[in-house]
Structures are given as C-alpha cells and as structure tokens.
C-alpha cells in the first residue's frame, strides 16, 4: 500500500507536467502548473549539476584530467530517471549552462567543454533510456530486478560514452594521456559516480515517503547512524592517524552501512553509501587512510574498486530486504484481513495437527463463547471436554470417518459448553489437508454458532403453528358443523336400527345397510378430525406428492360454513394439473390464510358481490399455480411490495404475520407466492408448488 501511495503523487505531477487531456479541466491553471514544474526541474538540475561539477573538480587529483569521481553525469542520469521522458529536454537544457559555468572556470577551451557536455549527456541518455525500456514506470530501488537493471543500464551508458569522450579528448589534444588511458579513467570514475549518486537521487525521500513522516525516535536513530557513520569513516579514511593505515580497517564502516540498509531501506543505503564514498575519496586523495598507499592515480583506482563493489552490494541488499518486507506486509495484511473477517462473523477457526493433536486458534478463538485466550484448548482432547457429553461420540465418529475415508471435508453439529456453563449449538465445518500420499496431516475447522439460527427456526415453526391455531379459531363453526353432520347421522341410524329391532320384523338386510352407513359416517368424521389435528399439532415440514384438487376441495368444504355465515360464495375451477410435491398441511394452511384474507377483504361489499374463486392450473412445466381471487377492494399499489413482510398489516386487529408465514411456508416447499390486483377489481394471491416427479414417490431434492 505504501508503495502505491508513493507512486501516485509522482504520476499525478507527471500528468500535470505532460498536460494530459483528462487533467486539463482548466487550461490556464494546467499550463501554469506545467511551467512551474519545468522551472523547478530546471533549477534543481542546474544547481545539482553545477555543485556536482565543483565537487568533481575538487576530487580531481593531478596529473590526470579526469576526476576520481565525476558527479555531474550521475546527477544528470538521476534527474532523467525521476522525471517523465517528455521532460528530458528540460533536464539537458538546464545542465548546459551549469556545465559551461563550471568548466569555463577551470580554464578549459570552449570546444573541449562542449565536447565533454555531449559525451556526458550521451552517457546519461543511454543509461536512462535503457532503464526506461526495462521499467516504464518511475524506477524504485525496492526490488532486486530494478537495482540490477539500473546497474547494467548505467554501466552500459558509461561504457559506450567513454569511447566518445576519449575520442573528444584526443581530438582536442587536451592533456597528455592516451586514448585508452582516458577511456579507462573516465569509465571507472563515472561508474563510481553513477553508483554513488544516482541511488541517492532516485531514493531521496519524496512526498509521502516513510522517512518524511518518520516518528521522532526514528529520526533520532537516523541522526545517530549518520553521525556514527560519518565519525567512523572519517576516523578510518581521513584522520591521518598512524593506526588508520591498517588495511583491515576499511571494513569498519560496514556495520553502519548494513545498519542503514536494514533499518532505512534503499534510501538509507544510498545516502550512507554516498557519505562514505565522498569521505573515502576525500581522505584517500589527501593521502590518508588504508587505501592511500601508492601514487595518487593508483590510490584512485583502489578507491574506485572499493566503492564499485561496496555500493551495488549494499543496494542489492536493501532491495532484497525491501522485497522481503513488502511480501511480509502483504502476508500480514491478508492475515489481518482474515482475522477481521473471522471477527466479523464470530466464527472460530482452528488448525489441528493430526499427528500431535495440537491445536492453533485463529481470530477470536473461543472468545465468542466467553473463554479467555489462555482458556482456549490447546489440544483436541481438551477441546472435546467442551463438547456436550452426549455429542462427543457422534462428533468423534464423524471426524474419524472423514480422516480415514477419502473425504476432504466434513460437517457436524454439536453442543459446545460456554464459559458460563450453558451450551451453544455449534455447526462445525472441517477441511482435511493431506500429504501427497493421501495421508491426513492437518485439519482446519470452522465453528459457527448456530444457536440463534436454530432458535429462530423454532420460533418460525411456533409462529406458523400459532397462525394455524388462529385459522382454526376462525374455522370453529365449520369444524363443528363438519364433525356434527356424520355424528348426527350415526345417532339417527342407531335409533332407526333400534326401532327396526323393536318392530320384530325380518330386518337383517336393512340393518346391514344401516351399519354400513354408520361406518361410512364414522370414517368421514375421523377424516375431518385428522385434517384438523394436522393443523393443530406442532410439526416439521413433511413433503410428499399429493393431489391439489382433493386438497382444495377439502379446504373449501372446511371453510364452507364459515363462508356461508359471512355471505361469501365460494367457487373453484381446475385445469388438468399433475400431482404436486409439498407438505399438505402447510399448503392447506396457506390456502386457508389466503381464503380468510379474501373474505375479510369483501366484508363490506353487498352479499351478492362477495365471490371468491380458487383455481389450480399448470402455467409452467415444473409448477402448479394455485390462485385465490376475490372481488374486494384490492391492494393499494404502495402496499403490494410489502404485503408479505412480517408485521405489515392493513387490518385493524391484524398482527401482520399471516402472509409472511404463508410466504415462508411456500418457499420452504420450493414455491413462490405473489399478490396482484385484478384488472376488474379485487386481488389475486397466487402461489406455486413444484410438480411431483413422475412416478410420484420420488421427490426433487431441492424442494426440501
């Protein structure tokens, strides 16, 4: 994330600088920005180049016309690397006056000065172009690939431009060195400079960088490090003390350079290395330190080799560390995200090593169940202690079966003891990790608290039953009538039989007929009672194929008396529909609910208009649609969307549960329910039920 943050301002300023169309909301302000940015680049390059040239001249040791370290070229390369390609001409244009200013002070002839400018610019352009070709975006030294790309590109630029430069020197007859000597000296000097200064420029902490927003403690550490590095390097390379001549002492700055790379990344490494490089060159140039052993030109070579091998190593180290840190951050972030998800779901996740039985918890662990972290079981045996004794064996069996079998996942449900001693209903989902031989090595288990879900399922069932009981209350008259009818027929038949017997006539045929009728009536009464008992008892969904006609007729018979009392005419119409698959009692309940609603809706109409029709038809191949159509006032359009919501009601004493229960019952059977207004007034409620699979007995699995 931090990396992205750092690149965004760069891109934005680049976009301004290039004046891209999308950003050109205000042409005036855009062009002003563009000029300002160009000016800033120009001034920085001019100052950098000039100061670099002064530094390079200061580090030039006679009699060679080439500096040990020639920074201007490196500064030019660094500048080209950090600005967009379109700004390169500004960089080159700004460097020219600085070059002239610096070189002409040294009394160099103008042609030679100009030739050097050409070779310097060539070097920087080759290096920058190669880097850009490999890495189109602005380069950061935070990956090994980038660092190596930079090292190769910069070296190539120097290598090629040196042929040109040496030729220019020979042409201008400057100095006394031969072509190859100039070539060699310039090559080493410029490579050293590129390695020393470009990283500083490229990694210099810019806007939003971590170093800019560093905390005081870190700033203090940086200052201590800088002071120590400066002190040690100055002591070893520039103190002139006799002891400093010991060659092994050149390693003394190393711990501090590593410290910088380790703690402050590529930027720290780059700056530290630049400090060391300048001090080493300065000290050695003045004949101090372990590298100042021979002629100045030979000393320069030692210094360059020392720096050329120290710098890249340090840069690579910092880049690798950076890569490592980034990967770790990403991993940590995804781990954190995982933990957050776990926290949000309140699920507990643990891993278990199968061989040792050890358990590791993730996220909140068992905090949701009231346990402190030190109470979370550390092995499977103590975990099992938390499982309800009655569930232990079942759980163990399910797990063992999953491990032994070829299965990859298992699911189980058990009761887990909370810290307060109560039990939570827990759903366990496990994944088995196997080694290449298929041997189970690890289990990853997710525990979900489903207590509430189960409770709400139970609540729903209780509500559904309450609604059935309400329906039964409304049906009392019908039920009494329906049961009473066969009962009274039975009584009369018994009376008649008795009278026949009293008459003393030959009556066996008649008596048999009467007994048959009594049996039929008794069965009829039992059938009605069975229907009602279904409504009254608490039950779970029980789907089976059944005949919709039969069910609708039974329901209409049941509500017949009630409808008559309310002055409602009931009619029904059936298409040729197949058997459906569902729960009879629930369908009956839904139908009763819809019929009662329809009768309520027609309560204030004149009696001849209170008509209610129940139809069944097969509109889709896989579904049967049952409609209840009334002639009432219909449903207000703004209510249509909410009519199946819980606690939504338009009735004065309604609870708003009937239709929501109806919907949950229909959906539990794989159907849908909807309400609409009839074009001619009134409303139609319709629900669908899945068609029973042909053969009748088998059921579509998804309807459960």
């Amino acid at each position: 994330v931090r990396d992205v943050k750092r690149t965004i301002p760069w891109f934005r300023s680049a976009a301004w600088v290039e004046g891209s169309g999308s950003e050109a909301s205000s042409a005036a302000s855009t062009s002003r920005e563009r000029v300002r940015a160009a000016l800033r680049i120009g001034i920085l390059v001019f100052c950098g180049y000039y100061l670099g040239a002064r530094l390079g001249l200061a580090l030039t040791f006679f009699p060679t016309p080439v500096s040990v370290l020639w920074p201007p070229n490196a500064i030019l390369l660094g500048a080209l690397l950090i600005v967009p390609t379109s700004q390169w001409r500004i960089v080159v244009a700004a460097a020219l006056p600085a070059h002239l200013l610096a070189e002409l002070q040294g009394g160099v002839p103008i042609p030679m000065v100009l030739c050097w400018f050409v070779s310097n610019v060539t070097e920087a352009l080759i290096g920058a172009a190669c880097v850009r070709a490999l890495r189109p975006a602005p380069i950061h030294f935070d990956s090994l690939f980038n660092v190596i790309a930079f090292l190769l590109a910069a070296s190539l630029g120097v290598f090629l431009s040196c042929f040109l430069d040496a030729a220019f020197v020979a042409l201008n007859g400057w100095g006394h060195s031969g072509y190859w000597e100039v070539w060699r000296v310039r090559l080493l000097s410029n490579v050293t400079a590129a390695l020393t200064f470009v990283p500083v420029i490229v990694t210099w902490p810019r806007r939003d960088s971590e170093l800019r927003s560093a905390k005081p403690r870190r700033a203090f550490e940086a200052m201590v490090l800088a002071a120590a590095l400066f002190g040690v390097t100055a002591l070893v390379f520039d103190s002139g003390l006799p002891m400093s001549v010991v060659p092994a002492l050149i390693y003394l700055p190393l711990p501090f350079l590593l410290w910088a790379a380790l703690r402050f990344g590529p930027a720290g490494a780059g700056i530290s290395f630049a400090i060391v490089a300048i001090l080493v060159i300065w000290g050695t140039g003045h004949g101090n330190g372990p590298l100042a052993t021979n002629l100045p030109s030979e000393n320069a070579l030692s210094v360059q080799i020392f720096l050329m091998f120290t710098g890249p190593t340090l840069l690579c180290l910092a880049a690798v560390l950076k890569e490592r840190t980034r990967a770790e951050q990403q991993w940590r972030m995804s781990d954190r995200r995982f933990d957050l998800v776990l926290e949000a779901t309140r699920d507990a996740v643990y891993e278990r090593d199968i061989a040792t039985g050890r358990v590791w918890w993730s996220g909140n662990g068992l905090a949701h169940y009231g346990y402190r972290q030190d109470q979370w079981p550390a092995d499977s045996a103590s975990f099992l202690d938390l499982v309800h004794p009655q569930d232990r064996e079942r759980l163990t069996r399910a797990r063992d079966a999953a491990v032994k079998g070829k299965k990859q996942v298992w699911e189980s449900e058990f009761r887990l003891r909370r810290s307060d001693g109560s039990h939570a209903q827990v759903h366990e989902q496990g994944l088995i990790v196997r080694d290449p031989d298929g041997k189970a090595v690890q289990k990853i288990v997710i525990l979900m608290d489903v207590t509430e879900r189960n409770n709400s399922e139970a609540l729903n069932e209780r509500l559904a039953q309450a609604s059935r009981m309400t329906a039964m209350g409304e049906l009392t008259a019908s039920i009494a009538h329906e049961v009473n009818q066969p009962m009274s027929a039975i009584l009369s038949n018994v009376d008649a039989a008795e009278m026949l017997l009293e008459s003393g006539r030959q009556t066996s045929g008649e008596l048999r007929e009467i007994l048959n009728d009594i049996r039929d009536d008794d069965l009829r009464a039992c059938e009605i009672i069975r229907h009602i008992r279904g409504l009254a008892t608490k039950r779970e969904i029980d789907c089976e194929p059944f005949d919709v006609h039969e069910l609708i007729l039974a329901v209409l018979r049941l509500v017949g008396t009630t409808a008559k009392m309310r002055g409602v005419t009931l009619t029904s119409a059936f298409g040729d529909v197949p058997h459906v698959y569902g729960d009879r009692i629930h369908v009956q309940q839904v139908l009763l609910n819809l019929i009662f609603n329809a009768m309520d809706a027609m309560g204030d109409l004149p009696e001849q208009e209170r008509r209610l029709q129940v139809t069944a038809s097969q509109l889709e191949p896989e579904r049967v649609t049952i409609r209840v159509r009334d002639r009432g006032h219909g449903i207000r359009p703004e209510h249509l969307a909410r009519i199946f919501d819980s606690f939504f009601t338009t009735k004065k004493e309604g609870m708003g549960l009937g239709l929501s229960i109806a919907r949950s019952l229909v959906e539990a059977q794989g159907g849908t329910i909807r309400a609409e207004n009839n074009p001619g007034g009134g409303a139609t409620f319709s629900f669908t039920l899945p068609v029973a699979a042909s053969g009748g007995a088998e059921s579509p699995a998804e309807s459960r």
């Binding site: 008259a477 009538h481 009962m487 009274s488 027929a489 009584l491 009369s492 038949n493 009278m499």
Partner: protein, 220 residues
Amino acid sequence: MSIPLVHIVDDDGAARKALGRVLSGAGFETRSYASAAEFLIAERDEGPSCLVLDVGLPGMSGVELQSALATREEMPPIVFLTGRGDVVTSVRAMKAGAVDFLTKPVRRDALLAAVRVALERDVEQRARHEELRILRGRLDRLTVREREVFDRVIQGKLNKQIADELGTSVRTVKAHRAQVMSKMEVRSIADLVSAAAQLEVGSQAGEARHFLPPAAEPLQ
C-alpha cells in the same frame, strides 16, 4: 285418514337418509329434499304433513325457506334442525311459527315428539283453514249492499242507524240483514260476529291480515 307425511330437507345425504329411516320406522311416510329449492318446486299432497328442516342449507337457508313458504300461504309446521345452537336464528324461527328447534345430533324421542306435535298442529291448521275457506266462500256470495249491511251489523249498529248511513229505509235494511244471515248460514248475531272475527273482517283487529289477504285464492 292418510298416513302423515314428513318432508325432510337436509343437504347432508347421510343425515337425510338416517332421519328418513327413523321417521319411517315410527310409521310416517317421508320425502327427502337436498335443498330448499328442491322442496319448493316439489308437488304437494293434500294429506297431513310437516317439515323437518335443516337450518344450515346451502343457497336458501332453512329460515329463508320458512318465510318464502309464508308468503305463499303455505304453512306446514316446521321442526328445525341445526348443527349449532344459534340463539338468534332459533328465536327468529320460533317467532315465525316453528314448532321446535332441535340441535343435531337429535335423539329419536325428541324428534318424534316434535314431529307428532307438528302433525297435530297441521291437522288443526288444516281444519281451521277449511272452516275459513267455507266462511270466505259464504262471504263472497254477499252483494255489495249486503256486505255494507254486514260490516255495520257486526259493529253492533242498529237497523235505524244503518238505514241512515246507507240512505235507505229500515225495512230494506231488515231484508238485507235476513239475506246476510241466510247466506252466511248463521242463526244469531253472535254467530255472525264470531264468523266475522274468524274472517278478520269489519273489525279493527286485523294485525294478522297478511296470513289471509282478502284477494288471495283459497288454499288448495
């Protein structure tokens, strides 16, 4: 005298059949109907009869059938049967002249007792109807002037008063009066007043008039 006939109207086939068995076992002739409409369009016999009627019929209910029959001047005594003790309905039915209001399931003794009462009432009713029919026939034989005299005689007016009111002589009134007595086949003024009371004419006590509107045809 023919066998008493009991009409059973009940939408429940089993109940109909069972009631029929009990009633025929007790020696009655029975006829069954599944709905009020079926009963209304059926042909009637002359003999004594009554109605065992289920209140909760589909379509036209038992009570509705009762009032429909009343407008047709058919007054077979009705024994109502009901599945539930609905006080309002039973009061209305009893006020409209029902013999009894029995709750299903109905015991044989209660049913037979009610049916017997109903049949007795039917016999009485038929006798009263017959008498009325005869009286009505006699009344119809009176001329307009005789009817005017009749109305005034039963109001207790003297011949003189009647003659004054009708603008005629006492002698003429006397002649008409003798004619009325003869046509109405009564021997005394007291008998004439009693016949008038039965016919519910000429007096102010005509609240039950709708049972026998003067213009209606006699009961068949």
